[in-house]
């Protein structure tokens, strides 16, 4: 027996393919990615990706470094616009609109589709002001409304009980895990529909990590979540759907339980089993 990799590659029958498509399409799709290609100069970082991202579900993007998953997630709220050489083709349909269109107001888009990054990046301000900063910038001056939003966002991010007595202390006094939950609260304050999490727990200790995972499971009741993670166990614990990226291709996109028990593609199997990458 060869344990290293060589599961015989079986061609999927039409029935199996149809079953896979049915599984993938039974829930409401919040983001419909169609033939999405993203280029950095001449380098095609994402190659004609197609993916229906489900509403109120957690979608995990996995794959080795440089596979295109971060490029993919960053394209969903147009973060790649900040890279001059980048260019996107195809469509990402959100609420009936292709958000890759040139006339999209990206600031408004980013309040609908919020993003949290690998390293917690709170503003060097108080906990309270971290959350109200963008709201104030958008013209919300009512103290009572702001107070309510601060509490609600912090509660949703499972941070309220830990910080309610020190809202006016610097956010930088919080632990790494708390800072990350603050960043999530800050995003939630904008009332987004979709949360993009780019390795949100990879810089955290195990306890903070599991708090973030618990939080993700709670948040999916109200939000649709896309998460990039290098932690396979995390992907299997928190997500409903998993997409495996390799060299810019979406190799496999299916229910997480299918991907982690019986993936259809040999490459997926090799990657999740830790045999390359």
């Amino acid at each position: 027996m060869n344990y290293t990799a060589d599961k015989p590659t079986e061609t999927r029958t039409e029935d199996e393919l149809a079953a896979s498509i049915t599984r993938a399409s039974k829930k409401e799709v919040v983001l419909d990615v169609k033939d999405l290609s993203i280029f950095y100069g001449n380098n095609e970082a994402v190659k004609r990706a197609n993916m229906g991202i489900e509403k109120n579900a957690v979608t995990a993007l996995i794959g080795p470094s440089g596979c295109g998953k971060s490029t993919f997630i960053r394209s969903i709220n147009r973060m790649n616009d900040l890279i001059p050489s980048s260019r996107a083709e195809g469509e990402i349909i959100y609420d009936g609109i292709n958000i890759l269109r040139n006339d999209i107001n990206v600031v408004a888009l980013r309040s609908e589709i919020g993003m949290v990054f690998q390293k917690p990046n709170p503003f060097p301000k108080s906990i309270y002001n971290n959350i109200t900063h963008a709201l104030k910038y958008n013209g919300q001056k009512n103290k009572k409304v702001l107070d309510e939003i601060v509490e609600e966002s912090l509660r949703k991010a499972a941070l309220w009980d830990e910080v309610k007595d020190r809202l006016h202390q610097s956010a930088l006094s919080l632990s790494g895990g708390q800072q990350q939950r603050l960043c999530i609260a800050r995003t939630l304050a904008m009332e987004p529909q979709i949360l993009l999490l780019d390795e949100p727990a990879s810089a955290l200790d195990p306890v903070s990590n599991s708090k973030i995972e618990e939080l993700i499971l709670q948040l999916k009741e109200d939000y649709s979540i896309v998460i990039v993670t290098h932690n396979m166990s995390q992907a299997s614990r928190v997500s409903d759907k998993t997409a495996f990226f390799l060299n810019g291709d979406v190799v496999e996109y299916d229910d997480t339980k299918k991907i982690f028990t019986n993936p259809s593609e040999t490459k997926t199997e090799e990657y999740i089993s830790g045999r390359f990458g």
């Binding site: 290293t4 166990s233 045999r275 390359f276």
Partner: protein, 219 residues
């Protein structure tokens, strides 16, 4: 390409212990049936005593497998392979119990007046032994065609048992005044027949390992 060499070596080591476990069970069954035909109580006691070792073997395989699951957090085929290890080992352990049960019947028979033991019981044990060898091959090579064929041999064992059962109850063939012996021999036949079912379960575990789906071969 990271091959996870240590993990692969650990998997292979467990696989090897399961294979030798299977051969030990095969030997126990053969000895139990030998003891039956030869009215050899010493051999029967040896089979009963050795069952402890078979139970320990199952324990060791369980521990090693669970340790790998905990430490290596396997997924997909690796995970299914380890689950199959647990199932196969547990079936082998139950097969060992049936060898012990046969040996106990032998001891009960040996204090009664002698009885002509039908050839059918030896024949059944030989088919079952053949099944064990095919199951080992199927397990080692992860060969689903061989695994499925185990069900055919199991059907043979089942019908041999049915025939034995009918013969033993047939008054024209029954040996008069030997009801206890008749009962014990029907039990022995039943134990061998059950062993066939466990080997078929092993076939199912191999199918699960390779295909990732549950299949019932015991129909």
């Amino acid at each position: 390409m990271v091959a996870r060499e240590q993990f692969s070596a650990d998997l292979e080591a467990i696989q090897k212990s399961i294979i030798s476990f299977a051969y030990e069970v095969d030997t126990a069954l053969k000895q139990a049936i030998d003891a039956l035909y030869e009215r050899d109580s010493d051999l029967a006691y040896k089979v009963i005593e050795n069952d402890e070792l078979l139970n320990e073997r199952d324990q060791e395989i369980n521990e090693a497998t669970i340790q790998l699951i905990a430490m290596q957090q396997p997924v997909a085929t690796d995970l299914r392979r380890l689950v199959a290890f647990l199932r196969v080992s547990s079936d082998l352990e139950r097969m060992g119990d049936h060898a012990k049960n046969i040996a106990k019947s032998v001891n009960r028979l040996n204090v009664l007046s002698p009885y002509d033991i039908p050839q059918a019981i030896r024949d059944m044990q030989e088919v079952v032994s053949k099944m064990i060898h095919s199951a080992v091959q199927a397990f080692e090579e992860e060969d689903i065609t061989k695994a499925k064929k185990l069900a055919d041999l199991d059907n043979v064992v089942d019908s041999m048992y049915g025939e034995l059962f009918r013969d033993m109850l047939d008054e024209r063939k029954a040996q008069s005044g030997k009801h206890q012996q008749t009962m014990q021999l029907v039990f022995v036949g039943r134990f061998v027949e059950r062993v066939g079912d466990h080997i078929t379960n092993i076939g199912e575990s191999i199918l699960y390992l390779v295909k990732g789906t549950a299949v019932d071969l015991n129909k």
